[in-house]
Symmetry: C2
Subunit: 341 residues, 2 copies
């Protein structure tokens, strides 16, 4: 292990000067500086981050806590955060919580011991409480908002995205539009639900509670919820479905297949969040796309700005994009009307 002492010796200066030459070059005479840097290079010196962090009472480390790294949306967030952090010489400590409060607590505890400078978290309902473990730490909430007063958040405009999707379905003539919605203690799910509600209202359609089914964000939940909705009596069964996240959308498509329903002929479908799956499945899915990479990158940039003492907006919303593909079509009755006009 080559240490600062070795570099100092080779460059014939004290350890203190060697340290300065490498970390704060402006404090050192040019010739000395070059001698030290040269020595460091030839020895292949790498600072011991542990010692440095211990001394400085804080490491150049950021925490990242996501709820499901196997979800491509989250994987993309993680990659973006890593890319930005790395460019600024920060190391990211990443943890996965599977939406479990206990795992999140553990992640926070471990993180604490590493003296991170900041944290980016996709919050769960338990996050508010668990953050007690990291008092005073700058935190950015990503994708969802926990509701903590004053929290910094980087989100997507869920309400508008959902509104756009449901308005589109209504415009296609659908009068029974179902929604598969996430847990109502998670902000994204609430907001998408709101958008759904408002779109129905603006389209002059009644809100029918029996057409709204909750699910726990996973594929299986989406499948079960879709089955429940499609089991309704003819006349009141939805002819179109708006699904609140990417995983549940997969489930909804599979449910349609289970029942032999063809998209978009027998059922129109619009999902929230784009993915390669949505792009390549047949028919290609009409979706509300989220700028996942940009979202993660922005969260990280915001955190780094915050750490630099710059003023940053407390809350940022990125726009979603509505992408019209082939999984939604005019309702049967609508097509008839238009055809006979």
């Amino acid at each position: 292990m080559v240490g600062l002492e070795d570099v100092a010796k080779l460059a014939q200066v004290s350890a203190a000067t060697a340290s300065r030459a490498l970390s704060r070059p402006e404090l050192v005479a040019e010739t000395t500086r070059e001698r030290v840097q040269e020595a460091a290079r030839t020895l292949g010196y790498r600072p011991n981050v542990l010692a440095r962090s211990l001394r400085q009472r804080g490491s150049r480390t950021l925490g990242l806590v996501v709820t499901d790294i196997l979800n491509p949306f989250h994987a993309t967030l993680a990659k973006a955060v890593q890319d930005v952090a790395e460019a600024q010489d920060y190391t990211v400590l990443m943890f996965n919580t599977d939406e479990e409060s206990a795992k999140e607590r553990r992640a926070f505890e471990i993180l604490r011991g590493h003296l991170p400078r900041g944290l980016i978290v996709v919050p769960t309902p338990a996050t508010h409480t668990n953050l007690d473990l990291l008092p005073g730490l700058p935190v950015i909430e990503l994708d969802r908002a926990s509701g903590r007063p004053g929290a910094h958040t980087v989100l997507v405009d869920n309400e508008v995205g959902a509104y756009r999707a449901v308005s589109y379905l209504a415009g296609l003539g659908h009068r029974y539009i179902g929604m598969i919605v996430g847990r109502q203690d998670i902000s994204t799910a609430v907001e998408r639900h709101e958008g759904y509600r408002r779109a129905l209202q603006d389209a002059g359609l009644p809100y029918r509670p029996e057409l709204v089914r909750p699910g726990n964000h996973r594929e299986g939940d989406g499948r079960a919820a879709a089955h429940a909705l499609l089991a309704l009596a003819p006349g009141e069964r939805p002819t179109a479905l708006f699904v609140g996240n990417n995983e549940m959308t997969v489930g909804a498509v599979l449910a349609a297949r289970d029942l032999g329903l063809r998209l978009p002929g027998d059922l129109s479908l619009v999902g929230f969040d784009d993915s390669r799956w949505a792009q390549t499945i047949l028919p290609a899915l009409t979706v509300v796309a989220q700028p996942a990479y940009e979202l993660g990158a922005l969260a990280c940039r915001t955190l780094l700005s915050l750490l630099d003492g710059r003023v940053v907006p407390t809350s940022t919303r990125l726009n979603t994009t509505f992408i019209e593909r082939d999984s939604a079509a005019p309702s049967a009755s609508h097509a008839q009307k238009v055809g006979s006009a």
Copy 2:
């Protein structure tokens, strides 16, 4: 920041005793131990890992370096490694290299500063050289083998998996079986290529170099390679394709679509590595499935055993599973023969 000193004071012992009571309880009298643990609990004490690691010259940290975290196969490996490491109280520092040597070097350099106890890496051709940065560090190579003598590897039986797939296609009567293969400086690609070769031989089919196209593991490469293969003159164009990894398989399916070829009627396809995409696309893809989670978990368990000084096998191969779904069918001529028999 509550430190060990605070705990010691509250428990009325020295810092050393407090340290022992928490880290090596068997060295401390029971009553003292309880007093200290109680004090730690009430103060919410968490050890400063930095100080501990500095003192012990090594942190309870593992490095994990993968080449593409957005690839679900790699995401699964990563989750498995994390799960196992966490259960043993290790923290994982994860890096993504995008198959770029420069990024890998950087990852190794940063890692070095954190004094990890071991490293799990999905190697690239550059890894062999780059590992000079981490002399003496226990390393497990995951999924691929770099060829370093004596290296510990946890792999899948690529040759056998590929052999099985190609034999299956040959058994279906295909005589022109193309392969889209990965970079030949990566072990998995070489081995899968070998399996392809041997299967052809055992089926009495000639190896035709023009039916083998290399690709750089990405979707776009697979698509381009498939286009090239399918552009061959009738008579010598492949009627079946074996694709060497999951991303390129997506590309091959899209190429078939571009050309209006139907699977499996106009073209039979077998991919390497299963995925939700392969399961839910229509027709569902016949694939050689890899135990991704188990692979990652085993790599981590092996590393931890190694660190505990236990004897571990230098190389482990996990079996692949051939999953017959709907993307491969008897060749036209074969069907004819069988039909007329």
